[in-house]
Every structure is written in C-alpha cells, then in structure tokens.
Symmetry: C2
Amino acid sequence: MTPEQRAQKVISGDVRAAARLMRDIDDNQPGWRQVLKLLHARAGQARVIGLTGSPGVGKSTITDALVERFRAQGLTVGVVAVDPTSPFSGGAILGDRIRMQRHATDEGVFIRSLATRGHFGGLTSSARGVVTVMEAMGLDVVLVETVGVGQDEVEIVRMADTTVVVTVPGMGDDIQAIKAGILEAGDIFVVNKADRDGAGRTVNELKGMLHLSGDHSRRAGWEPPVLTTCATDGKGLDELVSTLAEHYRVLSADGGQMLAQRRREGLRRELLELIQAGMMEYLLERLDQGEGLAPVIERVMAGREDPYSASENILASILGD
Amino acid sequence: MTPEQRAQKVISGDVRAAARLMRDIDDNQPGWRQVLKLLHARAGQARVIGLTGSPGVGKSTITDALVERFRAQGLTVGVVAVDPTSPFSGGAILGDRIRMQRHATDEGVFIRSLATRGHFGGLTSSARGVVTVMEAMGLDVVLVETVGVGQDEVEIVRMADTTVVVTVPGMGDDIQAIKAGILEAGDIFVVNKADRDGAGRTVNELKGMLHLSGDHSRRAGWEPPVLTTCATDGKGLDELVSTLAEHYRVLSADGGQMLAQRRREGLRRELLELIQAGMMEYLLERLDQGEGLAPVIERVMAGREDPYSASENILASILGD
C-alpha cells in the first residue's frame, strides 16, 4: 500500500489501518513518517488534554471517567496511554485490552498504549505521531496519559492544549514528588483519593508551590486551580470536566490566540526534537562508516585521551569544522 | 585562574576549589570542560555506587547509613544527590546544608546536590562531571543518589559500577513503579521500610520480574539479590554493605575484566551524550545564524508544510546533504 492509500484509509476512519500505523510508529518501523506527512494537514482539530502523575495516583481511573463524560456529550475520544515504566512490552498491550473491554462496543472511543524506549527522541516523537493519527481520524478529544516523572513525560504533556497534573495526599515527601517542569506545565492540578488523610495539606502545599513558582508565562490569564477528586466513586469529576471546558474557553478567547501560541511552542519543541533525532541518526551512520567509537573508548580507558576532547574531535570530523 | 591551576587545586584536595568547579558544572558555566579534561586522568580510581528509587522510598537515609559504614572502614566518601524534582534550585542547596551538618566535622565526606535541567544532556553530563571531580579529589567511594523515575536517571545510574534500586512495599502498582531500564540496570534490589505490610509480596514480585526480564548481559556471573531493610532503625544495612563488597569483588575478579567492560559501556554512553550535546549546540548556533525556526513554525501552523518535511529540510541545509 502506498503512503497515500494508508493516509486515506486513516482519514476515512479505517480503525484497523489507524491501529497498524500507530503500531508502526511505536515500533519505529520504516514508512510511518511518509504517512504522517500526509496526515499532518488534518491535525490540529482535536482538543488535546494531557494527564500526568506518579504511578498509582489514579490517572487511568480519571481518564476512564473523562472518556465517559465526553462520550455523554456526544464527543469522540482518543486515549494515548504512555507507559515507559512497563517492563514488558506485552504489559501495555494487555492493559489496552482490559481497558478496551469497557468501551469495546463504543466506536467513539479509541485507546492506544505506547511503551517505546531506546531510540533517540522515541517516546515523545511516538506520542506526537499517535496524537496526529487520532486527529486525522477525526476524534474530537485526545487524552494523553503519562506517568509524569521524567523529562520525557514533561515533554509529552507539553504537547497538550490543557495539562492536568494528578497527585494524591501523603506521597512521601509531597513537594519532592512534583517535578519542577511539571509544576510549570500544569494548567489544572488534581488531588485524587481526597478522602485520605492529609488531602487538605497537599492542596495547600500545591497552592503554595504554584504561588511561589512564579513562572506563569505559559498560562497568562489563567490561575491554575487545585481540585480534589475521589475518582473511584466519581466525586469531583464533574467539576474537573467543567474546569477543562473553562480552560479551553480561555485558550480559545480572542480568536484563539492563546491556543495558537501554545501550539507554536509545542511545534518549536517538536521541530527541535525531530532535528535532534535526525542529527543522531546521521551521527551514528557516520560513526559506522568510520572507525566507530571502539578505538576512542580504548584510548580513553588507557588514559591517553579524555572524553571531552575525544567528543570534540569526533564532532569536528563529522561536521567538518 | 588557569584551568591547570584549578585542576591542581582540586587534585591537591582544595575543597573550596572542588565545590566551585562542581557549581560551575551544575550551572554549565563556561570553562568547566577545560578543567575536567585535565582531571580526567585522575578518574576511574573510586568505587562508584548508584542508588535509585521513587521519591519517599528512603534513599537518603540509606545513603547516610552507607556513608557512616564506609567511614567506619576508613574510606573517604563523596555523595552526589541528583534531584531533578526539586522545584526550586534553593531546595537542593538547603538539603545539602541540612545533610552536611551530620558530617560537618568529617573531612572524609563530601556531599553535593545537582538539580540541573534545561540544557541538552544536562543532568547526566553534570553528574558524570561531578563524579570525575570527586574521583580527582581522591575520594575512595562515590555514592550517586537519584530519583529513579525518568530516562535521565536511568542514564545516571548506568554510570555506576554497582547500582542499587530501592523500593518500598505497596507503592500503588508495585510492578509499574519499576522502570524497565532500571530493572535491567539494577545489581542489588532493596525493599526498604520492610516492616510494612506486603514486604514479602514486593520481594517476590521483584524476584519474579528479575527472573522474567532475562536481560542479564550487563551482569554476567551475578544474580541480583533482593534485600530487605529498615533504614531508619538500621536493619539490613550491614547485609547491604557486605553485598556491595561482594558485587565489587565479582566485578574485580580476573583482573577486573567485568569492571572494565562496564566502564567501557558507560564511556560509550558518555561519548554519545557529549557528541549529541555538541551537535545540538552546533544546530542552535546555525539556526540563529539563519532565519531560525519562527518562519518554519508559521508555515507549519498555516498547513503549508508538515513538521517531518520541515525538519528534514533544515537538517539537509545544516549538514549540507
């Protein structure tokens, strides 16, 4: 099948073609970029919502509840669950199947897990690609759920129009558990499992951190609220949905200038990542053509060269300076 | 001061010069690489031990206990606490001061926190640099403590000769809480707070995951043990110290072939990271000289170009293909 045919199938709503393309993206199979190039003109139509938080805070439960509520509004929903913590690639797929069952008879929901690791810029690039595919499928809302603990995950949530940061009371040292980048990236903070001891303290700590952090450039005109939920029994979820709607209204005000600005920033990051990944591919190819790193490593191990000088020499030879 | 003078001061044990150099590394101030080039010949003499785990599992308590025990053996100890979760740069420094007080009168202990973010390859590169400085200072053991949750942290623990992965019973979904890369990188696993419910189950789950994961190439001849500790009351720490010694004996057997192989792998990663960071610097410089990304972003926003083609075009223009 040509890239054009594959793209056309995705746009016409062929779920199997879309699923195959997403798998190719996750596995970094050749050819996916050609299809994505054709799909890109269809992107930018969906509302992209990021959910992030440590393992065990209840992100999946909240995601599922949001899916139900968006469906009740008549919106179609895509879910991208990014799980780099899954030690076995089968884990994510199994998780997909279990979660899919809840929505198995609902054609308005499309769920896909990603567990890519190991290639440069892999996870962020894959997640963006899968979001683009979901947008091209015509889904109205795309929820991107990540374990929000590393730099990769911060990058991923930054591609969203709205980022929800989920935490729970009493996660050891609460302040430590929120990364600086995530604090800055969050538009809405949720303290889940709020029936537990210490929920009020966690809310106040978060408010204090948000007040102190000061970097509100990303969210001019929006004071990030701190909500409380008990996702398992549904408490606070309607307020989360209405707060999400309110944030989208703020982003879309004045002809959508804030939304466009946010997407510009996301695009800048995406371009830099793509260029970086391309440079690394070029570098590794050039190293393969030459003597490779092995003799350099031996020279450094023997103390005849230091790694800083060695890397500068390699760079100079590759870039021709 | 010339780089030669700065290097000489560090080698001669000038603590203030070493501290200043580490701060320059963390802040990526110009000049630190020149000094590191000169210090590198002094590296490779210390035993480097990595400790990693989620926030709140008790890494700092274990680290402090190890410092005491190594000091009792007459060894000098450096601690590099990598804390990218700290939302305010002051946090790490304050933490340093508090922790330093315990060892304030002990000249055989040197503690340094790192919170670098934001420059390409920043945290890993900084951590390696600080370890090199500590080795050049002549410290016998260097403990690198990281919040082991993101890809950066996996890279950091991979620079250690021995990696200790710390977890606690009942961290939500226990299996999710251990990243695949960390499972592969771990030489010794510790279930801390083992007086809590579920400790036995966590130990068994870890053993099962280690058995299933199968990737033992990094640790030929070493079956990673799963230990239990209660660091706050000292239980299990002597066993941890003796297991660390045992692992170092295995690494050093047969003329230290395993140790050398591990350091070769670490060096390969370091070189690739340094080259990647250098390429990104070159890229950003070239972009600044040209039209930059702004017009490209506008073309993509307007749907006249897709990000994949745009990044390919930029790469081709920079690399001259």
